[in-house]
Symmetry: C2
Subunit: 211 residues, 2 copies
């Protein structure tokens, strides 16, 4: 299809598609003339992933580009490729502090307690530790002592079952690219969904106490 | 304390504090001279909330200002005030489509199924519906038919128990402002934490299948 048809198929404006092409978020079509190229279903899928990353995951262009690069790097095995994308999905840079160090100890204990296969250098460890530190500041817990990850202990069996179902639902015969699109898209989308149902639970609890 | 001491107490640069003041995110101190004002513990708490909203919740300045306005509006009861903040925390604007309408039906069924006290106009309903629509597009489910909210059914009892504990932990004698700071901060912070533990579950499931 031509780029105009790609715009129609994805419901994304032509100017936005050209922006994605310029930013390297969308791979070029196959050139058929100097100023003309054709696009295929792979481009349609990719545009949807890019939109999920930018608009659901609120990633920066640079972070989205890192995720896309992981999808496109054939030298990474599926799980390692997924790990690169997972790290790119964690915003911000590491900051060292006594409170962070204490929180990281707690995060490590959480991971061990649930026998989770999470890479030692995974950025998601820092993501959780940052939450514990920020919550400890917000709720006035003394520095160096975190709010605790044990609130999530009871959720883990269900979260693991859901994750297994989610990863398991990726078809065996899918292309490497669509496998990753499914995993990255699922990571980003369903955590917004999980946040939504958690907010519903909070609104309910607030109604029960305050309404 | 003077504004310089507020900067020290919150570890937020002076220029950033002045920016918060200009943007109405931080209430002015009590003027003691033409170019001088004093700040108190309420300002310290507020700066922490603002940072949680902007840097953990990734809210825009405008959205953060709406949350702050709800905190400062004494005409709203605690639960209604919380509802305003909850709506401001949902990004984007409603878009109508057949797929959205179908997803909203499913969201309503989810809320009824779990007997949740969630306002009919709550923006969080749209937040969940948007996830279902986007996931249905990403995973190639036909338009008008969503991926389904039933994956979260098993999580709800634990999420409700956690939400009850979270809302219940707000001290009875706290000021209206710090009550809201705790609730909004908790909403924003712990959903990042929940996303983090969910990502750990996904990495684990990926390792089990692909590593």
């Amino acid at each position: 299809m031509r780029i105009g048809e790609l715009a129609t198929a994805t419901k994304v404006p032509l100017a936005t598609l050209k922006y994605y092409l310029r930013e390297g978020l969308l791979h070029p079509g196959v050139a058929t003339a100097v100023n003309q190229a054709v696009y295929d279903d792979g481009h349609v899928q990719r545009v949807r992933l890019v939109r999920a990353l930018l608009h659901m995951g609120h990633l920066s262009i640079a972070d989205a580009r890192q995720v896309i690069a992981a999808v496109d790097n054939p030298n990474l095995g599926v799980h390692d490729m997924f790990g690169v994308a997972q790290d790119a999905l964690v915003p911000g840079e590491p900051v060292e502090s006594p409170a962070m160090a204490a929180a990281m100890v707690e995060v490590d204990a959480f991971i061990r307690r649930h026998h989770l296969r999470v890479r030692p250098q995974a950025a998601v460890r820092r993501m959780l530790a940052e939450v514990l530190v920020a919550a400890s500041e917000l709720f006035g817990v003394p520095t160096g002592q975190s709010v605790g990850a044990d609130g999530w202990d009871d959720l883990m069996p269900q979260l693991l079952a859901l994750a297994e179902a989610e990863v398991g639902s990726l078809p065996d015969d899918s292309s490497r690219a669509s496998l990753m699109e499914g995993m990255v898209g699922g990571t980003v989308l369903f955590e917004v969904g999980l946040a939504a149902v958690r907010r519903m639970a909070l609104e309910h609890a607030s109604a029960e106490r305050f309404a």
